[in-house]
Amino acid sequence: MAEHTVKAFDEDITRLRGLIAEMGGLAEVAIAESLDALLRGDEVLAEQVVLRDKRMDALEMEVDKLAVRIIALRAPMADDLREVIAALKIAGVLERIGDYSKNIAKRTGMIEGRARFEPLTLLPTMGEVASEMVHDVLTAYAARDPDLAREVIATDAKVDGFYNSIFRNLVSYMVENPSTISSAAQLLFVARNIERIGDHATNVAEMVHFAATGVYPPEGDR
């Protein structure tokens, strides 16, 4: 991005991007740790995930304030404006991803008979794909790389595939083992949350693409 005559403007934009990156890092870790907590039944770790979400909320507010300030004081144009608007929207989405992770973490205590609970083994791989998507989309954001953003959008199909197969798997498991229905139903929500995380990562990727090029990615990619 070209330098601006007003140096403070560059500083503001840099700070905005830094805040987004920090939120993204938190979101990535939250996904991994919430699933880890769920899998191992580690309530302490789950508690940490929930606590850390507060930091996410604070960061989102900071992004909002800064973005509004930039718009009000500097009246950005063209790619600068796109950058600020995208940051504003991405922050909202990342906060949402954080909420989903928090939601997963909160279900840690609700799974019974963890050691022999077979459907639990399918979730981590799905979670890894989703957290990889978040990781890649943030790299795309940092590098302003529309190609990588499109790759992330394409990966979402994988997460959806996982979701469908886990859904079927869990339903048949519930039919066979009615005693585990309450735990399995929790896992359905978890799978759903991960699927939503994938969708949100896709949204971020679209915004990254928009901020970098000025157009949304072609429909065929989605």
Partner: protein, 417 residues
Amino acid sequence: MGSSQTIPIAGISLAAVTFAALLLLGIDVVIALAVLTVWVGSLLVAAGRPPDPPKAKTRQRLTIESISDLIENSSIPLVITDRNTIALANNAARRMLGPHVIGQDTRVALRNPEAISLLGDNAQNEAIVRGLVRRGDIWQINRQTIDDRLAMLEFINQTAEADISRAHTDFVANASHELRTPLAAILGYVETLQEGDGSLDAPTARKFLGIIEREAQRLHALVSDLMSLSRVEAEKHDLPTTRIDLAALVERAARDAAGSNRIERLVLDIAAEPVVLGDVQQLEQVVRNLVDNALKYGAADAPVTVELNLAQGDLARIAVQDQGEGIAPEQIPHLTRRFYRTDPGRSRASGGTGLGLAIVKHIVERHRGRLDITSTLGKGTRVVVRLPLAEPEPEAAGSAPDTDQETPREPETEQLS
């Protein structure tokens, strides 16, 4: 340092002018002289001391450019931060984090909350971060403050170390398990024999002794395999130097592996006499292990073909082909892992240690060769080892056995009996 440089000429001339002015004002010559002496004397005493090292100046010389020259080619990723932004990233860091990070907020490059704890005012100096670049990698980040603005971040990749130590732990756990299994059987039967106090009939006792012997043999095989594996691994980086005629070696080792009771199943097809640089015992072990595997896991009455020929001009190719049930494709990548077995029960029953192919792989790697395993389910498995040919010996360059000018030996297929 020349004394002329230290004499404060300006000061002395000022003193001289003052002296003249005092004289003109009509002050006593003695007083004026005293003033001049004290003035000039104090100037000289002050000038005699070496000037203070210009601290501020050296600070300033540590500019971003000079740091860049210093760190650019370091193999450790290094990043210089100026307050909250990345001022500089050396070549290794740019490759690791992407070239876009320069000029951006440091959080853009680090992202991970652990890593971000390194930034800010009351920052820590060290953090271990997982998944910084790729999933599951581990980086140690050290932060060193250069001055009130600049700081240096140093990235040390700990991933390999963690992998190695995990592989090591796995290996020790596996090896102990493998060693304990036959030992448990031996101890159990010995105990039964002891407690029997002669009440066991002779055939049962013989049977028990037979089991004990078999298990002891297995233990023995396991320990020798472990020893050869560790020996090969220890020598992994030394290229073997002995010139070896592969044709003779392959034939000898293959017959050796087959033994007298399985020799009819062995078909040797030696079409070349390549010379390679190698270690005789280790290459014999490669052939022995492959032939033994093929005879063991191929169909009981089907032949096992051992081929030796040249490939791509400068490689010797040893291929061992069996006819049997083959190996499922998803298992092939794991075959060379230590203690990996496609069918544990069968492997143990036939006295396998689970180390044979691991040893083969290490030996082939030491010889800078290649190991390829292909298999068709229901038909059989083919293991191919390719070894680089030795350079022809200078004095015997014309008579190198494996060059094109020489008529290769007629491909002969001999059915051994």
